[in-house]
Point group: C4
Chain length 194, copies 4
Amino acid sequence: MNKNRMEALTDGIIAIAATIMVLEIHAPDSFTFESLRDQVPAMIAYLISFLLVMLSWYSYHLMFLHVKRVDLRVYLANTIWLLVLTGIPFATSWVGRFSNNWQPELTYLLITALWAIMYTVTSHALERANPELKKSVNQESVMGIIFRYTMLVGSLILLPFWPPIGLFSTLVLMIISLMFNFRDEKRAHKNHSI
Amino acid sequence: MNKNRMEALTDGIIAIAATIMVLEIHAPDSFTFESLRDQVPAMIAYLISFLLVMLSWYSYHLMFLHVKRVDLRVYLANTIWLLVLTGIPFATSWVGRFSNNWQPELTYLLITALWAIMYTVTSHALERANPELKKSVNQESVMGIIFRYTMLVGSLILLPFWPPIGLFSTLVLMIISLMFNFRDEKRAHKNHSI
Amino acid sequence: MNKNRMEALTDGIIAIAATIMVLEIHAPDSFTFESLRDQVPAMIAYLISFLLVMLSWYSYHLMFLHVKRVDLRVYLANTIWLLVLTGIPFATSWVGRFSNNWQPELTYLLITALWAIMYTVTSHALERANPELKKSVNQESVMGIIFRYTMLVGSLILLPFWPPIGLFSTLVLMIISLMFNFRDEKRAHKNHSI
Amino acid sequence: MNKNRMEALTDGIIAIAATIMVLEIHAPDSFTFESLRDQVPAMIAYLISFLLVMLSWYSYHLMFLHVKRVDLRVYLANTIWLLVLTGIPFATSWVGRFSNNWQPELTYLLITALWAIMYTVTSHALERANPELKKSVNQESVMGIIFRYTMLVGSLILLPFWPPIGLFSTLVLMIISLMFNFRDEKRAHKNHSI
């Protein structure tokens, strides 16, 4: 299939999913700053989700960078990855309204975890379609995966005691993942491989 | 005309149509999981419609893959195909709210059937504009077409007795169509034609 | 400037403007077909506006097809063309709700007329930026322009007596314009110029 | 990373952010022109914001035009630039409803100022990633920067006395910036550098 068109369709859906979340933050019915106060949790949830989508896109697009062949299996994995992504605006809106309740926070955690799983599934489909690639297309290390799931399990345990751990652990995971991305880029730059 | 720009505009509209459907699934006014229960039919309708749009796009983009020339007739057929597509969010929203009534289910069935018809119309316009193509651009076999319309007529007959057949038969048709796509890709891969 | 990026941004805005209009057609609060009846004028207005945007895009993209240089003047004209375009969803929504009143119909007529004027302004900016082009980039003939403005003036006169003339004359103009486009394409095909 | 995909994702988000603002201008519940009157401030705010986004895009895309390498630092700066951009629809909607109050006008001013700051941050990241570039990628002169911040401070001082200065100074700044862009393009054209 046409890799470029698949990438363009994917980027279109990502751009929309990242942007429509902001529609949930309505202008208040009054001109005072006090009227903004109710929107602060929704703004924080939007901020985290927007950065999550954009930073995940960065890793995701890197996977496709050196790959030549995409097939129906890759397209299907990519489609389900996108389907889970379109659940993030819903989860963000819900958690933004009830950030102190464990049900929306749990939903948010599970959707972002499912999204990470679909990321791995897509990377396997990509490797299968491109057997000539020497190293894995998915840069995530075993250490990274262990860390990610330890954080998830830890957050699930803490959730009943402090519900905002859902959003908070997503933010922490994102910052750590960003630091690893910077390190990987520096290494790749030294090896002239990018 | 410029094939690339037509494809990019088409992909933009598809990305938006596939994604705005999720806006219909509002975060509930309460934090409980019970409050999500009312949204379940809407979520199922969204899931089916999103996959329908994405999998139809796959076949649709294959049609254009080896084609060199697009003309006004192709563009017009593509435009009406897109127009019918933009009816899917409406039908999905309606069927998601009243999934046990035959009127929304019938509307959903008819819009998706009309969409399939416009697909065939576009394939004929493409063949007409590219007479040098040896084989048909539309991969759908006679068997596939007979099956599709048998399913449609069968669903229409069952509709008064079990309205959800509308969404359900769309899902079944999609899964079967996906299996055929996998088979076609495997064959094409053997023949080195992709 | 980068012509490809300008075209991509333009196509993105057109795709969104054409598609968000359908968000105005909400699923009714009941499952009966009777409840759809109130939406019929909105659906007709959407149908006409969607086709208007898509067919105008066809002519518009042809203007840019053989052009090499776009400058700030072209970009500015294109931006105002897009700004007027984003008024069409508003006018469509208003005329769809009050199709028997001259005020929304007049607004619709004026916005689409202003859009046609910005089309001509953009074509002049394109010719100015590309003086080496032998023939005009704007294919619209003098006959076509006279016809367009005669229709507009005629519709304005008839508006107080039969308000739906606003939408109706847009549809007629679109069909005639489409016929001319088919004729032009046939001619160009004979001359091997496309 | 892939510069083209980053640009395409960026343009997608810009196209959506510029267009969804118009969704805030609802068709009135009556057919009279009087009913439009309440929407006039929202329309003016939309007009200014749409032009601001489109004209900022022009300068922004110029920065990337001759640049070869984008890295994670550039991507991160670009992402935060986009994040601030998605705050403009919110600020536009609020200032459009309460254009005579200093709180929404101040918010509007601060978000657009923050956007300009992120523009500069992105330009520094671009220069860092492309040390071989002889001249600065950011065309903004020292004069321009002094002027911009003088206008901002002046507007902040005048804000309590005449709140609409927020929107008004944005418009003035935009027109002046446009004039400078025209001058720069003319100069570059003479030097054959574009």
